[in-house]
């Protein structure tokens, strides 16, 4: 089977015939593009090359989607070299969309599952090339089995650099740009360029990810509650805990395209932090509930529940290793593990621990805001003021623990929401002008 794409950047004009050929051949709903044509230098900056990157799934040798898929719906067919999504296992969690730097997996709203380029296996079985290559009007896009030596390169500017070993070769441009006569002074025009004008819209946003924000924060609170109960005489209301825990599970399933397939979500403990998180969260709920209703005296069971909770939160933080962050700090003040430690301190009312973890959070938060301010990004002053205001009010109201707890949680909720506003998918940066900043992995 032919699995390697060869793209001649001299010949590709960005005509999008490949995109349409793919839609026609695979009978895709309008807007469901499995092959996209990205443009490097969209704004036409003088003195810089402009070329088109026609990309679909690149059938990587070490695919990120396969490593991160919690349900093992994504797999690499070793016999053919194709990377495939099994629609019967896919639960539509869309995490492969985050994991893939090339923007290959696409969510099919109608089916509720992810879909992507199949290399037109049905055509290849008949001896034809995939539609995109077969229909390319300039023959800029070709596929082969990788055995031929191609005078190309696997890396051009604007194409994401990863360790995934994508199956693509570019034939680089012979001459990268014309001498333009429009502007005597190209610098005058370049001075007016703001990269942010041309940045693509963030593909991760609070408006779509709010169930995750709520779920992750709630998990941190529940875990802190159980841990605190091991350290101090903190009362845990079993009914409320169970109700919240099940609420959390429901929230986490809310964004799945096919909720009934969630059963497969723990299938990839070997390499998926998402799988680990889901299994550990279920374990945490189960052990905690058992401890609460039947074995309240068992210190061992209490600590097993606590540790599975903390391990779950650690996994939860790791899930976001694959996104691109707007700030360069390796730790986020709204990381759930840190938040849970802080809230544990609040629950146990240990002033030293509250101060210690609170200070860490404050430093991280202020450091990040300062960075946004310095780099001209939106520092979101109003939410910041609220977040800090709530936290300091909680400290001031430490005489009334319930109110203080509520204020701390409100303050943490703001930070967690901001966390989602500061993430983006790696694939948003294909062809872009800014290098993706500090990808986590």
């Amino acid at each position: 089977m032919k699995t390697r794409f060869i793209v001649d950047l001299n010949r590709c004009t960005g005509c999008q015939a490949c995109t349409v050929a793919c839609m026609v051949e695979n009978r895709l709903a309008p807007g469901l593009g499995l092959r996209k044509v990205h443009t490097f230098n969209e704004p036409h900056l003088p003195g810089a090359a402009r070329y088109s990157l026609s990309l679909s799934c690149l059938h990587c040798e070490a695919p990120a989607c396969v490593a991160h898929c919690p349900s093992k719906a994504c797999f690499r067919d070793e016999a053919t070299g194709r990377v495939v999504i099994d629609p019967d296992r896919c639960m539509g969690c869309r995490y492969c969309e985050w994991a893939c730097a090339y923007g290959a997996p696409v969510f099919d709203e109608a089916a509720g599952v992810m879909t992507k380029c199949t290399l037109c296996a049905h055509l290849q079985e008949e001896g034809s090339d995939p539609a995109c290559a077969a229909q390319c009007p300039t023959n800029a896009l070709q596929v082969d089995d990788g055995s031929r030596a191609v005078p190309g390169t696997d890396q051009v500017e604007g194409f994401p650099e990863t360790a995934n070993k994508p199956s693509i070769v570019f034939i680089p441009v012979r001459r990268d740009r014309p001498d333009c006569t429009a502007m005597a002074d190209g610098n005058a025009i370049k001075k007016r360029f703001r990269a942010s004008d041309f940045a693509s819209l963030p593909r991760i946003s609070l408006s779509t990810e709010w169930p995750l924000a709520l779920f992750t924060l709630a998990a941190a609170i529940l875990c802190a509650w159980i841990v605190a109960a091991q350290l101090a005489p903190v009362r845990v209301h079993a009914g409320l805990f169970l109700f919240s825990g099940i609420g959390c599970l429901a929230l986490s399933a809310l964004h799945l395209g096919r909720k009934q397939k969630a059963i497969h979500s723990g299938a990839n403990l070997k390499s998926s932090w998402l799988s680990r998180e889901i299994v550990l969260f279920s374990a945490f709920l189960g052990f905690s509930f058992l401890w609460l209703i039947a074995f309240r005296e068992s210190v061992i069971l209490g600590w097993i529940a606590s540790i599975s909770g903390l391990a779950c939160l650690f996994s939860m933080d790791r899930i976001y290793d694959i996104t691109v962050k707007k700030s360069p700090f390796p730790l986020h003040s709204a990381g759930v593990f840190l938040t849970s430690l802080f809230l544990t301190a609040v629950f146990t009312a240990g002033p030293v621990a509250v101060l210690a973890f609170g200070s860490v959070k404050l430093v991280l938060y202020m450091g990040r805001k300062g960075y946004f301010w310095r780099t001209g990004q939106n520092a979101r002053l109003l939410p910041s003021a609220l977040r800090l205001g709530f936290a300091f009010a909680a400290v001031a109201l430490s005489g009334r623990p319930d109110l203080a707890l509520a204020l701390f949680i409100a303050s943490e909720a703001i930070d967690r929401c901001e966390f989602y506003m500061e993430q983006d998918m790696q694939s948003s940066f294909i062809g872009g002008w800014e290098e993706p900043r500090c990808p986590g992995s």
Binding site: T13, V24, C136, P137, T138
Partner: protein, 685 residues
């Protein structure tokens, strides 16, 4: 498809795309159980072997679109919306109106308006019908290319050029106002081959386009000043020993006069007029001097100015004086009409019966100005004049002022919306026809592969039924038009091929065929069918027929920002984009998903002066109209120019011809809608 083919199983048909497009691709269509299953390129066409463009690939979606008009429609009483009616009612209403208007005002009160929506010999059906009806009013001139055609005819005697694939032999390629990456994608393959062989590419365009990305030089003149640029380059060639003196002496009429004209044109002035640095002109002149063969490919947009016939004459002078005409890899490429073999099926329309009273360029002003008789009815076919002719506001008024409007179309276009009766139009898959091309030399058989859906009837049948209803008799002995059946259509087409021995429908069913008499290298015999038999840089005919200078010359366009009386500062360019052919295709969800909204591109310098940022909502306006859309900054666009792709529909907010003016070009009765000054302002949200 009962009559001609058995279609139980998958069958593959050879056909051709009938759009008004350089490429006119050869296509293979797979049909299974009466449904089109797949389309793919036909490798037998050397000009388009590799693949169709995105529009061609969407032809199935187009034919099967749920938005397609598949029944006759009548405007509802009260004017809001349309209702389905029977063919009987539709034809009855049209026939009654034609009869009444004929009695009251005479046949010339009916305007028969056609465009370039689909190509084919059967398009003559309408004129044949009106001939039997006793005549009608028709248009003269064209929206597209007449000034370039006429300028080429005056200079070289004929519109033809080397075969498309010959371009790989060029050592210098100049794309002058042409953007093949979006309008003739298959030419880019030949350009790339030439570049791989070491050729130089120069693009002349105020925009930086996908066609200019691999160029050595992009010259960005002020719009409408191309003649000045060409004269300056000729000046440099003459001064710097770049003229092929033996070719010039033998083959050119009026070289000494042209030489004096070019030398009298000062380079300082050219720099000022074109706003192009002398160094760039020197570089292009140097290429012309040193690199042979050189091919100059001119686009159409540059010849839609009021001075453009003279512009094109100046452009042709460059390959001419450098001896690049008639050689492999060289020449002047504007239109290659070597496949235009077929004349009208019967004699030319009787000039008395037809009144050529409306200039296409001035549709909105000429229609209401007609008298004796005034226009009462319009029949529109293969056209969308509301958005595609200049001055949409006036065109709308003129059409609305009539008593009765019939529109034949596949979709509810802005023109169809104005109709009293809409008749459903066939697609390319639903009737056979013969197709020629204006870039490559192939004759092609556009085959019927499926029956028309629902109640769609081809125009030949519509006109036949209408003639029957009106009791019209055929006016010449041989049937000017075929009968309704597929067999009759094929027999009629076969008859058109009769003068060309060896060229049969059977042969064409196997693949595209090169037109008889094709010259791979045009003018290689150095025979120029001009009055003098030479290349005429000095043309008395140009002066006599069009009242222009006998020599190529530069004059500012009527609407130019350099004129003292200019009322607006920015040149609005309205080029075609890869996403549509004029106003066709963008209504299909597949194409729309790639480019959903109109936008205006502008230089950051012009935007800054007006307080406009990237993606702001802006108004583009002049005395003729105003449209609103998103602004996008383009850092390589020539300052002073703004660009909106043409073809957006009125409800989409991007109908650019609200802003253009109905003027003719200096020759050929072309349409000078690119003489179009506007201003842009931010719209406060």
């Amino acid at each position: 498809m009962q009559s001609l083919f058995e279609v139980d199983e998958m069958r593959v048909y050879v056909t051709a795309c009938p759009r008004n497009c350089y490429s006119t691709c050869s296509i293979r269509v797979h049909v299974e159980e009466g449904r089109i299953h797949k389309i793919e390129p036909h490798p037998g066409n050397r000009a388009t072997p590799d693949g169709l463009c995105l529009k061609g690939l969407s032809l199935i979606e187009r034919a099967l679109s749920p938005d397609r008009i598949v029944f006759p429609l009548r405007r509802k009483r009260g004017g809001a919306g349309f209702q389905r009616i029977s063919w009987d009612e539709a034809l009855g209403r049209v026939a009654d109106t034609l009869k009444r208007l004929d009695e009251q005002h005479g046949p010339k009160s009916v305007l028969y308006y056609t465009g370039s929506g689909t190509k084919g010999l059967l398009n003559q059906a309408g004129l044949q019908f009106f001939k039997r009806f006793g005549g009608c009013t028709v248009t003269f001139g064209d929206l597209c290319w007449p000034s370039g055609l006429e300028a080429t005819r005056l200079t070289l005697g004929e519109n033809k050029h080397n075969a498309p694939w010959d371009l790989v032999h060029a050592r210098l390629i100049v794309l002058w106002g042409k953007n093949p990456a979006e309008t003739n994608i298959h030419q880019m393959t030949f350009i790339d081959e030439a570049l791989k062989n070491g050729a130089r590419l120069v693009v002349v365009d105020p925009r930086r386009t996908p066609s200019s990305e691999r160029a050595d030089l992009l010259i960005q003149p002020r719009p409408g000043t191309d003649a000045a640029l060409a004269l300056a380059i000729a000046h440099l060639l003459i001064k710097e020993n770049g003229v092929d003196s033996s070719f010039v002496e033998k083959q050119i009429l009026g070289y000494p006069e042209f030489r004096d004209r070019a030398l009298a044109f000062s380079l300082d002035e050219a720099e000022r007029i074109c706003d192009v640095p002398l160094s760039a002109m020197q570089k292009l002149a140097g290429y012309f001097r040193d690199l042979r063969p050189a091919t100059l490919c001119a686009g159409f947009g540059m010849q839609r100015y009021t001075n453009s016939g003279q512009t094109v004459r100046a452009l042709i002078a460059l390959p001419a004086i450098t001896g690049n005409i008639g050689i492999q890899g060289g020449g002047w490429q504007f239109a290659n009409l070597q496949s235009y073999l077929f004349g009208p099926a019967s004699d030319d329309p009787d000039t008395d019966a037809f009144r050529a009273g409306v200039s296409v360029a001035r549709l909105g002003t000429d229609m209401p100005a007609l008298d004796d008789p005034p226009l009462k009815m319009i029949w529109v076919e293969r056209a969308n004049p509301v958005t595609q002719n200049p001055e949409t506001g006036k065109v709308l008024d003129a059409i609305r002022a009539l008593d009765f409007r019939v529109v034949v179309d596949q979709f509810m276009t802005d023109t169809a919306r104005e109709a009293d009766i809409i008749l459903p139009a066939k697609t390319m898959f639903e009737q056979s026809d013969l197709i020629n091309a204006y870039w490559h030399p192939y004759i092609q058989f556009k085959q019927k592969v499926v029956d028309p859906p629902e109640e769609v009837k081809p125009e030949t049948e519509i006109f036949a039924l209408l003639a029957e209803r009106l009791g019209l008799k055929p006016c010449d002995a041989g049937a000017a038009m075929p009968g309704a059946s597929d067999r009759e259509v094929e027999a009629w087409l076969e008859e058109r091929l009769a003068p060309f021995p060896g060229l049969t429908l059977d042969l064409l069913k196997s693949g595209p065929q090169i037109a008889p008499g094709h010259e791979e290298v045009a003018f290689s015999d150095l025979h120029f069918p001009t009055p003098s038999g030479k290349i005429e840089l000095l043309s008395s005919e140009a002066e006599k027929r069009w009242g222009v200078d006998r020599l190529p010359s530069f004059k500012e366009p009527v609407e130019s920002a350099a004129r003292k009386d200019a009322r607006y500062p920015l040149y609005l360019m309205t080029p075609n984009s890869k996403d549509r052919i004029h106003s066709q295709y963008n209504n299909l969800p597949m194409i729309r998903s790639l480019n959903p909204r109109p936008y205006v591109q502008m230089s950051p310098l012009d935007a800054e002066k007006r307080g406009i940022s990237h993606r702001d909502k802006v108004a583009i306006f002049n005395d003729r109209g105003r449209i609103q859309m998103e602004a996008r900054l383009d850092f390589s666009l020539k300052p002073g120019c703004v660009v909106i792709a043409n073809g957006w529909w009125i409800p989409e907010g991007g109908a650019v011809n609200f802003l253009s003016c109905g003027r003719e070009t200096d020759m050929g009765h072309g349409t000078a809608f690119h003489d179009n000054l506007v201003d842009v302002a931010k719209v406060e949200a």
